[in-house]
């Protein structure tokens, strides 16, 4: 996971014309109504949130939707945030981002937009085995769409755990910290998710 601002703690260092503040002091200022401080937090962290969302979704509109959702939640939750009592701002932000992605996954699942057919399965098989051209942009987009449709067959919990483990390459303890689950729960969930993914792959590939 990206570690851009976790140790970003050079509070109020004078760097010429502009002052650099820590995330925590910006959060304090933003919670007291300083719009510029909030804007600075947004500029600093929007890519972090977008990269988390990009692991789950393949459409830029949806990634932007998650980013907006996360920063709106943060705007209204800043009053309750305290770096002394809880995690760093970046960790807190990541947790909100993961929860927002999870909510989106559940919404997608409810709309049942997945309609993965046997032809789609054949196409994914061909692309994964390298028989189809995979170097051009269009081909990448098609493969990604197919993979997303396949993954939409998993439950949101399974998909979240597998994405964090395999796409985001996070450790079990990091996932436990982010989701608020216990380490053993993450392990059990991951095991079940792998079984579910195997079943989906056997069915369609």
């Amino acid at each position: 996971m990206e570690k851009t601002s976790d140790n970003f703690d050079f509070a109020m260092v004078d760097t010429g014309d502009e002052e650099e503040c820590s995330d925590e002091s910006l959060a304090v200022n933003a919670s007291s109504g300083d719009e510029a401080a909030f804007e600075q937090l947004f500029e600093r962290h929007r890519r972090r949130v977008a990269r988390i969302a990009g692991r789950f979704f393949n459409h830029s509109e949806r990634v932007e939707e998650v980013v907006q959702d996360v920063f709106t939640k943060i705007y209204f939750a800043l009053d309750g945030y305290s770096a002394e009592r809880g995690p760093s701002f970046a960790a807190w932000l990541s947790r909100i981002a993961i929860n927002s992605c999870y909510d989106q996954l559940r919404r997608i699942r409810r709309r049942a937009e997945s309609s993965f057919t046997e032809e789609d399965g054949a196409a994914v098989r061909a692309r994964l085995s390298g028989r189809a051209p995979a170097n051009d942009m269009e081909s990448t987009v098609i493969t990604r769409d197919l993979a997303q449709k396949l993954l939409a067959r998993l439950s949101p919990d399974d998909r979240m755990v597998l994405t964090l483990l395999d796409a985001q390459e996070m450790s079990v303890s990091d996932i436990a910290e982010l989701t608020g689950w216990s380490v053993s729960k993450v392990k059990v969930r991951a095991h079940r998710a792998r079984l579910a993914l195997r079943r989906v792959l056997i069915e369609f590939l």
Binding site: F42, E64, T72, L128, L150, L162, A167, L197, L201
Partner: protein
């Protein structure tokens, strides 16, 4: 041998699964591109303003209920009090009424009519009791009637 094959098959499925998950994700560059719009902050501000308005509407909706409640609560208290009063009045009127006389329905001696009996028939009060003279008179009358027959 069989379990080895099964294990290999599972390994292969897991490898494909990881590949599918990797392929389904956007690259970091694409994710960065998705939030590079200069209007994103403006859209976020609009969303925050809308959310703020929605929250304030929720609060003012509660506040607008206060005048309604101020009128409704006294009326509801009045209605409740009048219902309790009416109930209490009806109960007191009923308890003030004479108890129902113990009127039973005795079969008529002729077997056709049902005749009410008086309260004295089953009362133990002195004024209702039959005197010794009445008993004797009844007995004498009965004997006379038999003698005449």
């Amino acid at each position: 041998m069989l379990s080895r094959k099964k294990h290999d098959a599972q390994e292969e499925l897991d490898r494909i699964g990881r590949e599918v998950l990797r392929v389904a994700a956007m690259s970091d560059e694409e994710s960065d591109e998705a939030v590079s719009s200069p209007f994103l902050l403006a859209r976020l501000r609009a969303r925050i303003a809308a959310e703020n308005e929605r929250r304030e509407m929720g609060t003012t909706a509660w506040l607008s209920l206060i005048p309604v409640l101020r009128r409704a609560i006294p009326i509801m208290i009045l209605v409740t009090l009048s219902a309790v009063g009416a109930s209490w009045y009806i109960q007191s009127v009923r308890s003030g009424e004479q108890p129902a006389t113990n009127i039973g329905l005795y079969p008529d001696p002729r077997g056709e009519r049902m005749a009410p009996i008086s309260a004295c028939a089953i009362s133990t009060k002195d004024e209702c009791s039959i005197s010794t003279e009445e008993v004797l008179a009844t007995l004498v009358n009965g004997e006379r009637q038999e003698a005449q027959k």
